[in-house]
């Protein structure tokens, strides 16, 4: 049966057909490769993280009672949806042990379209998630966050325990080491990971 089918296929697939199929597959391979490369291209790692700035996010030096996750997002960027999804999972998995502060970028003079996006509405539904409109990306810059979806995890002592992204790729949700590390740290599980690549758009134009 197999040999007969192969023989039939061989007779059907003429050289011209194979050429077209090859060209087609090649183009597709390049396209999909580019997509993967695009989604897997991480943002440049921030080196100027500021713990003080992070604390500022909680109302001027009041120590948070729980672990805090600060996430800078661009509410209009479609890639943020994946970060929101991952946040939903992390918050659900940490069972209230984690507070999340979202810094929603809004350009100076930004209208309501920046502050009432679908992403923000989704974020508003997640328990223990606070949204702060970050006009002009000032807060993010103070924290040293430059990429939408970039997060920092602060423990109870306001020590940054994790910095990076919580999505496996740009705009892609799913299990990834960043999200897992955040969950493990909050749950006090020992881990040596402190950072994870950030897959997202820049919060400000170059």
């Amino acid at each position: 049966m197999f040999s007969r089918k192969i023989a039939t296929a061989a007779s059907v697939c003429r050289h011209k057909d194979l050429l077209w199929v090859s060209v087609w597959l090649t183009i597709l391979s390049l396209g999909f490769g580019y997509l993967i490369v695009y989604s897997q291209t991480a943002a440049a790692d921030s080196t100027r993280l500021s713990t003080a700035a992070a604390a500022k996010c909680y109302g001027g030096g009041d120590a948070p009672a729980t672990w805090a996750l600060v996430v800078a997002i661009n509410p209009k960027c479609p890639c943020t949806a994946a970060t929101v999804t991952m946040l939903e999972r992390i918050c659900a998995q940490t069972k209230g042990a984690l507070h999340c502060q979202v810094l929603a970028y809004c350009p100076e003079g930004g209208d309501e379209s920046w502050t009432s996006t679908r992403t923000l509405r989704r974020l508003g539904l997640i328990p223990r998630v606070a949204i702060t409109t970050d006009y002009g990306g000032v807060l993010a810059r103070e924290l040293g966050l430059t990429t939408s979806g970039e997060t920092i995890l602060l423990d109870r002592e306001h020590v940054i325990r994790f910095h990076g992204g919580i999505t496996p790729a740009r705009g892609h949700e799913g299990d990834n080491l960043g999200a897992t590390t955040v969950r493990e740290l909050v749950e006090e599980d020992p881990t040596s990971v402190t950072t994870y690549p950030i897959y997202g758009c820049p919060l400000s134009a170059p």
């Binding site: 089918k5 039939t8 296929a9 059907v12 697939c13 057909d17 077209w20 199929v21 087609w24 597959l25 183009i27 597709l28 396209g31 999909f32 997509l35 993967i36 490369v37 695009y38 989604s39 897997q40 661009n74 209009k76 960027c77 479609p78 890639c79 949806a81 994946a82 999804t85 970028y105 350009p107 930004g110 990306g137 939408s148 496996p168 790729a169 705009g171 892609h172 949700e173 799913g174 299990d175 990834n176 080491l177 897992t180 690549p197 758009c201 820049p202 919060l203 400000s204 134009a205 170059p206």
Partner: protein
């Protein structure tokens, strides 16, 4: 020719391929819309989910939108083109399968790796099962595997979420695909099996349907042929035939019926299909009362059939018809078959036959009452089957006695065993002669000659001989008298010559006797002188002596002594010659007896040459070349003498006709010889010969080339009758005009006939038949 199983197998393969091809082409069409729909869906997803990308407040088209438009378009281009151009082809399926799985990759990407979008892979694998081709999972699974392998190697976190994925995760992903594929393949194979079974079932049904249709077609054709056959048969008949239903309505008619109706200007409503023929007959009243009644009785089952003849004359001719009414049992009930047959010729023939029968009866009565003898006998055993009064009265037997006899029983006892007209010579075959002379024997034992005329015929279906027998006893007597008269006439013609032949020796005798008489006188005178001298004395003797010597000299005694014996001898020879002629005359003029006697043909030939000598000696020399050991023949001496005399006289006439004017003598040769069976006689002359016309008629009675008064034309006719009919011999002629003629006849040897008779006694002619 393929067997049924081979036909079913081929049809099954064809149906299976057709069904499968149909399913695959349908699936191709489904995928055509599915792929285009997915492309549209991908674009919509990109538009709604990731239309733009932001860098701060600056936006730009998201790469997902470009990918949905461009990559999605490329993704559907080739499969859609193949679906349109090569629906059902394996390459199309493979490309579609690869494209569908790549769409899973694209949609997963466009939806941000949503776990729900991964279901698209399994849905795609399930939809690929519509193809009913397990091999489409090869490119599908290959795409999935390749995606995992490439991304696992180069971008592991994009698929496993970690840069150091465990092998278990890889196998977990692959395992689920394999799990789904396994059951899908199993399901496809089951489906293929079902499709094949359906194809088998359809093939079986199709073959059965074809067989049924073929049988129906054949049966329909046969029925059509049968209908055409019967229609043609009915149309080919001269009878005018109509089929009536139980009400007497004409259902169908044949061509002869229609043509008769058209020829006689009959109205269709009266005699065409649809007309009520029974009503027509009823309305005809008294003239068709019998027919109407018969048709009603047959329809009621009270009568089987009805036949009648009636005359129906046209303006120009007298016509007779026969009407036959028969029951017609059809599927719709009992009807009638009405057939009118034109029997005018038959009636005329019957009348003619009756006339001939009456004539034949009259002839038979005439033959029966005729005084001439007539009878019929079977060819197989010569058993007499019919005789007339003439035969009965002539033979003195009753009809019953004669009908218990055979034809051979009518012959004398001695002749029954001999070959005759009924049998070939010892061969048992029928003789070819039509006329033959035999003897019949009356019940009183009297034997009388009859001439039989026999012809073959058929009597009551059996080959027979029709024998006409004529009593020729009176005729034979007259013929004998005529032959004798003719013979005497021939002798009369030769009488002058014979007289001359006798006269010549008689003159010799007379002169010699006269000479001897004078000699005797002289001798007596000398003897008287010598007697008287015996009484003289011696003295006187001397003188007497001289006187005696003188007397002797005067009497020329020496001359007498010399010539007298010669004269006596000559006279004796002359007398002998006369005696010979007289004896020949006596023999030739003998009327002969009724029975055959043993005859020496050489003697007859010598006698004939003797008495005809004066006829031929002036024109020819006759040489006899006779076989001195010639055996005798059984025959009638008078007739055979007549035959040979005729032949010699004819030869002499022929020679004289040719050589007479030239004062030259011709030549006649008469030869006799013998063979084992026959004695052969030839009379050859070198005379004038016969012309072909004369040759043809030589043996005809009353045919002659001689002047009136010299020939009767009966000579050769009698010769032929004597040789052939009376002696069972043969006669033949060899003649060359101007060169001569040879007559040859053969007669059976007497000793051969004796042997033949002995053989005949041991021969049973009936058995030989």
């Amino acid at each position: 020719m393929q067997s049924l199983s081979q036909q079913q197998s081929a049809l099954e393969q064809e149906l299976f391929a057709k069904e499968l091809g149909g399913l695959r082409r349908l699936t191709d069409r489904i995928f055509l819309f599915l792929l285009l729909g997915q492309w549209l869906f991908a674009v919509i997803c990109a538009v709604f989910i990731t239309p733009r990308t932001w860098q701060g407040a600056e936006l730009s088209p998201h790469i997902h939108l470009l990918a949905a438009l461009g990559l999605g378009g490329i993704l559907v281009s080739l499969p859609c083109a193949l679906i349109v151009t090569r629906p059902g082809a394996m390459l199309t399926r493979f490309v579609v399968a690869a494209s569908q799985l790549l769409f899973s990759v694209l949609l997963t990407h466009l939806t941000g790796g949503r776990i729900e979008t991964h279901f698209h892979i399994f849905v795609s694998l399930a939809i690929l099962a519509f193809y009913h081709d397990i091999w489409v999972y090869v490119p599908a699974v290959a795409v999935s595997l390749l995606d995992h392998i490439v991304r696992g190697l180069f971008w592991p976190e994009s698929i496993f979420g970690t840069v150091t994925p465990s092998v278990f995760r890889a196998f977990e992903h692959i395992g689920w695909i394999a799990f789904a594929t396994f059951f899908l393949v199993w399901g496809v194979r089951r489906k293929l099996t079902n499709v094949r079974k359906m194809a088998q079932f359809q093939a079986s049904l199709s073959i059965e349907r074809d067989n049924l249709e073929r049988r129906v077609s054949e049966r329909t054709q046969l029925l059509g042929e049968a209908r055409d056959y019967f229609v043609n048969v009915l149309d080919s008949l001269d009878d005018h035939i109509a089929i009536l239903d139980s009400e007497g309505v004409i259902k169908s008619v044949n061509k002869a019926w229609r043509m008769f109706g058209e020829a006689n200007d009959a109205r269709t409503e009266l005699c065409g299909p649809g007309a009520n023929y029974l009503d027509v007959c009823r309305r005809a009243g008294e003239s068709a009362l019998a027919i109407t009644s018969a048709m009603e009785r047959i329809l009621a089952g009270e009568a089987g059939q009805f036949t009648t003849e009636y005359s129906c004359n046209s303006r120009t001719e007298e016509r007779w018809f026969q009407l036959r009414v028969l029951p017609f049992v059809g599927t719709s009930g009992t009807g009638l078959v009405v057939a009118h047959a034109n029997i005018s010729e038959r009636v005329a023939a019957r009348e003619a036959f009756m006339d001939k029968a009456r004539t034949a009866t009259s002839l038979a009565e005439i033959i029966r009452d005729a005084p001439n003898e007539f009878f019929l006998c079977r060819q197989s055993d010569l058993q007499i089957v019919m005789v007339n009064y003439g035969l009965r009265d002539s033979l003195g037997y009753s009809e019953d006695e004669l009908c218990a006899m055979t034809a051979l029983d009518l012959l004398p006892q001695a002749e029954r065993c001999k070959p005759n007209i009924y049998t070939d010579k010892f061969g048992g075959k029928y003789a070819h002669q039509k006329i033959h002379q035999l003897n019949h024997q009356r019940s009183s034992g009297e034997v009388y000659p009859v001439q039989l005329s026999v012809c073959s015929g058929v009597y009551e279906g059996e080959p027979i001989f029709a024998v006409f027998a004529t009593d020729v006893s009176t005729l034979q007597k007259l013929q004998g008298q005529l032959a004798q008269a003719l013979k005497l006439e021939s002798l009369a013609h030769l009488a002058a010559g014979i007289a001359h032949e006798i006269n010549t020796p008689m003159q010799s005798v007379a002169s010699n006797v006269e000479f001897l008489q004078s000699c005797l006188d002289r001798v007596f005178r000398v003897l008287g002188a010598f007697q008287s001298s015996l009484q003289m004395l011696d003295e006187q003797w001397k003188a007497q002596r001289e006187s005696l010597m003188q007397l002797t000299q005067e009497a020329k005694l020496e001359h007498i002594l010399l010539e007298a014996p010669r004269a006596v001898t000559e006279a004796a020879e002359a007398c002998k010659r006369v005696i010979e002629i007289v004896r020949a005359m006596k023999c030739m003029s003998h009327p002969g007896g009724k029975d055959k006697i043993k005859i020496d043909l050489n003697e007859i030939i010598r006698n004939a040459t003797t008495i005809s000598r004066n006829h031929w000696k002036h024109s020819a020399t006759l040489h006899l070349h006779l076989d001195e050991d010639l055996p005798e023949v059984d025959g009638h001496i008078a007739e055979l003498s007549q035959v040979i005399l005729n032949l010699i006289v004819n030869a002499a006439d022929a020679v004289a006709e040719k050589h007479g004017s030239q004062c030259m003598l011709g030549q006649i040769d008469v030869r006799t010889s013998a063979t084992a069976d026959f004695v052969r006689v030839e009379v050859e002359d070198n005379g004038c010969g016969m012309s072909p016309e004369v040759f043809e008629k030589a043996f005809d009675p009353f045919f002659t080339t001689k002047p009136v008064g010299k020939g009767t034309g009966q000579g050769l006719a009698i010769t032929h009758n004597a040789i052939v009919n009376m002696h069972g011999g043969t006669i033949d002629i060899l003649s060359t005009p101007g060169a001569g003629t040879t007559f040859m006849f053969c007669l059976p040897r007497a000793d051969y006939l004796h042997l033949e008779t002995q053989q005949a006694l041991a021969f049973d002619p009936v058995e030989a038949l």
